[in-house]
């Protein structure tokens, strides 16, 4: 892998993460925040793949699998909570959920 390709891909990974982070912080709809989290997770995943390819090691792909599982678990939990909130009290705005704080 050439240095330019490596730099470009790492930049892309960083950009993905930044976009995702921005989405989580700027949007208030829970569903969109979940979507943004997925985008944010894909950034480090790409970085792991790129780094693994750069060093010729399988550990990067292993970490990718881990992130995949993590993302799946996060979406499953997040969507279940979202549906529950939606049905229980028709909440879609994450800012209204402040009662969890004591």
């Amino acid at each position: 892998m050439s240095d330019t390709a490596f730099t470009g891909l790492i930049l892309l990974a960083g950009a993905l993460f930044a976009v995702g982070c921005f989405g989580v912080l700027a949007r208030r709809a829970i569903l969109v925040q979940l979507l943004s989290l997925e985008i944010a997770l894909s950034g480090p995943a790409l970085a792991f793949i790129v780094a693994g390819a750069r060093h010729g090691q399988a550990a990067g792909q292993g970490m990718f699998v881990l992130i995949l599982v993590l993302a799946a678990a996060e979406v499953a939990l997040g969507l279940a909570l979202y549906l529950r909130l939606r049905r229980r009290s028709d909440v879609t705005d994450s800012d209204t959920l402040r009662e969890l704080r004591h």
Binding site: C21, V24, L25, R28, Q33, A58, A59, Q61, G62, S94, D95, L97, R98, E99, L100, R101, H102
Partner: protein, 694 residues
């Protein structure tokens, strides 16, 4: 490194995959399916795994088991994560049993669940398929990861299927209870598997088990104990047994497949699989045997006093799996495996037959709902009799006798005390099996005689007939199974065989004596499983029954736990026993004990941490501030406050206000917390960057 080598052995994957496909089509597919299509899919997914399983198992029975089939291998450092399936004699045997029972139960449930709404029907079959896939995965697993995956999926399906009836609060409670209690045991299994991984540096079972046996540094007893803990939770053995009777809130096919024949017995299968590790630890082996014996006796005694047929069968499963554990504990896992097969056949048969008889009955699943079975459902009645005879272990003609005999012989060689306990269990088992059969043989009250005109279909008849013949004839398989698994048929002196042969008959006679009205109405021979009132029987009647006639009145007298007219000591003892073992309506004593010992203290702890009732919001978060105030008061108020004291007291007050303003940071908004996390991470990164700057 990754690598997949394509061979025909990978077809082993099809066995769980077919059921899994059934689950995905039924459970996840957004298409609308009609009842007919759901039924076709249910049968395809339920019976499908049997076909490849049959092929592979036949190959294995002929001596060429394909062994481990690697699926996916990842080498990280010096450890290897190697996912694999494996087909060795044990997994072939158990896998075949599971897929046969699964196919029979799913066929049966096509007819049983016919009246349910489409959505529920779809959910039911999807979950049954998922369970089947999970169980087959667990049985065929060649490494600890796949094994644990299957194990946990079974637990999840068990929870979802117990709570299948989502409108019933009782069913949901029962599901939650089963989930939490088995989770407790699953954690122990996970710990055992992780410790084994540390010993072996590999997850493959063929490396794990020798490494576990060779473990020297004091780890082996811990691993063996954790494995035992995992097994007793899943198999509902003595300290953790209470979830199984309440799990009967699920539909009857679920009880037949999960909570008697296959999943509950998975604990025994696990211990058979890891038997070498257990065999290397004599102390834990003895513990297994003692726990198994105690559970067997307790389960049989509890089953004797149940008023509900499903709870009776649940306690019977607990007891029968206890005998398997006993057999594993005395070093005869092969005999336990043979009994696993036989028990799976007759117990699923009993559940299916009882479900067929009592379906739509106004009495629900009460034992009384079985009455009149001979007129209403002759075939189901015959099947129930065959299952009960096999459960009782009537000599020679039933399969249950052969496997029980093998286990009793193995137990005899280990110690006479355990053997006596096992024998007492056999007597009690025969007694409660006969009791259930006698109730089924009673004519129905005239008021109910006309109800239930639903005709039997092939979906019901075929599984019942097949399992019924199996329950009677599978005895011939016991010896081959034990040899196939590499064990020897246990031998015992002839007199123990004779005593063991008398045990079921004695139990049956006991039940005849206990049965209401047994003394005055003669019991037709055919109804009680093929015994005739011979001379021996009559002698036994005089010698055994007469002393038991009073017991009849005590235990079964008013059929509803009404106080006995005889207020003497023994009568009180029997009433106490009945209340202790199983209150017919109130929750079991063990349940109440667990609730007081574990559930309520936990709830109280959580409430206290939440500040429930104490008037203080967030007592734990307030702790630092309160500690500061108390310190200040204790130190400063004891002395005369001068200007120094005033000065440092102000620091205390400032601390309080700092705490209050710091608490304001905690807004509870996701976005604020997210921003804080991002800023914190960025700060840490900057710090790291600064330190590594050259």
């Amino acid at each position: 490194m990754f690598g997949i080598v394509w061979t025909t052995d990978l077809l082993l994957l099809t066995i769980p995959s077919i059921a899994l496909t059934g689950f995905m089509l039924l459970g996840l597919d957004p298409l609308r399916l009609r009842a007919f299509e759901i039924r076709v899919l249910a049968i395809l997914g339920g019976v499908g795994p049997l076909i490849p399983m049959l092929v592979f198992a036949t190959e294995c029975f002929h001596g060429s088991c394909i062994g481990a089939v690697p699926i996916f291998t990842l080498v990280v450092g010096e450890s290897t994560v190697a996912l694999a399936l494996q087909l060795d004699p044990l997994s072939a045997l158990v896998g075949l049993t599971v897929s046969i029972i699964g196919a029979a139960v799913i066929l049966y449930s096509v007819a049983y669940m016919a009246g349910t709404a489409l959505g529920d029907l779809r959910r039911f079959f999807a979950l049954m398929h998922l369970f089947l896939a999970a169980m087959l995965t667990m049985v065929l697993a060649g490494d600890s990861i796949v094994l644990f995956l299957g194990w946990e999926m079974m637990g999840l399906c068990s929870y979802l299927l117990i709570a299948y009836n989502t409108t019933s609060a009782q069913a949901i409670r029962a599901g939650r209870k089963a989930f939490i209690m088995t989770r407790f045991a699953d954690a122990m299994l996970l710990a055992a598997l992780l410790l084994l991984f540390l010993e072996a540096n590999s997850v493959r079972l063929d490396a794990l088990i020798p490494a576990g046996v060779a473990a020297q540094d004091g780890m082996r007893p811990i691993i063996a104990a954790l494995l035992l803990g995992g097994a007793i939770g899943k198999s509902a053995q003595l300290p953790l047994h209470t979830w199984l009777p309440s799990a009967m809130a699920g539909p009857t096919p679920v009880s037949a497949l999960l909570h008697s024949a296959t999943m509950v017995a998975a604990g025994a299968v696990l211990l058979i699989r890891f038997a070498p590790i257990l065999a290397a630890e004599p102390l834990l082996q003895a513990l297994t045997a003692i726990l198994g014996a105690a559970t067997a006796l307790f389960g049989a005694a509890s089953a004797l006093v149940q008023q509900d047929v499903k709870r009776l069968l649940a306690y019977s499963s607990i007891s029968q799996i206890g005998t398997m554990m006993l057999s594993i504990g005395v070093g005869a896992p092969q005999a336990a495996a043979a009994h696993f097969v036989v028990h799976a056949i007759f117990k699923s048969l009993l559940f299916l037959a009882a479900g067929d008889i009592a379906h739509h009955s106004p009495q629900g699943t009460a034992l009384a709902a079985l009455r009149g079975a001979r007129q209403r459902k002759p075939l189901a009645f015959l099947a129930f009799l065959a299952g009960a005879a096999s459960l009782a272990g009537l000599p020679v003609i039933t399969a249950g006798w052969w496997s029980k005999e093998a286990m009793l012989a193995a137990v005899w060689s280990a110690g006479p005390i355990l053997w006596v306990v096992a024998l007492a269990t056999a007597v009690l088992t025969a007694a409660y099996a006969t009791r259930a059969a006698l109730v089924a043989a009673q004519p129905a009250p005239a008021a109910e005689a006309a109800q239930d005109d639903s005709s039997d279909t092939g979906y019901t008849l075929f599984p019942l007939a097949f399992l019924g013949f199996g329950a009677l004839l599978a005895g011939g398989l016991v010896n081959p199974i034990i040899r196939f698994l590499g064990g020897d048929m246990p031998h015992a002196p002839a007199f123990t065989l004779a005593v063991a042969a008398i045990a079921p008959i004695a139990g049956a006679v006991l039940a005849l004596a206990l049965a209401p009205g047994a003394a005055d109405t003669p019991m037709p021979a055919a109804r009680t499983g093929g015994r005739r009132a011979s001379v021996v029987d009559r002698v036994l009647r005089v010698l055994v029954i007469q002393p038991f006639v009073r017991l009849v009145r005590w235990v079964n007298g008013q059929d509803g736990g009404v106080e006995d007219p005889v207020g003497t000591g023994p009568a009180r003892l029997v009433v106490w026993l009945r209340r202790t073992l199983a209150g017919p309506t109130a929750p079991d004593r063990a349940d109440r004990l667990y609730k007081r010992a574990f559930v309520l203290p936990f709830l109280q702890l959580v409430r206290r941490l939440n500040g429930y009732g104490s008037g203080v919001v967030d007592p734990l978060g307030n702790l630092p501030a309160r500690a500061v105030l108390r310190l200040q008061r204790a130190l400063a108020d004891a002395l005369a406050p001068d200007w120094i004291d005033r000065w440092w007291r102000r620091i205390g007050a400032a601390l309080l206000s700092i705490w209050t303003s710091a608490r304001r940071l905690q807004t509870g908004r996701v976005r604020d917390h997210g921003l804080a996390m991002v800023a914190g991470t960025a700060g840490l990164l900057l710090l790291a960057w600064g330190y590594s700057w050259h």
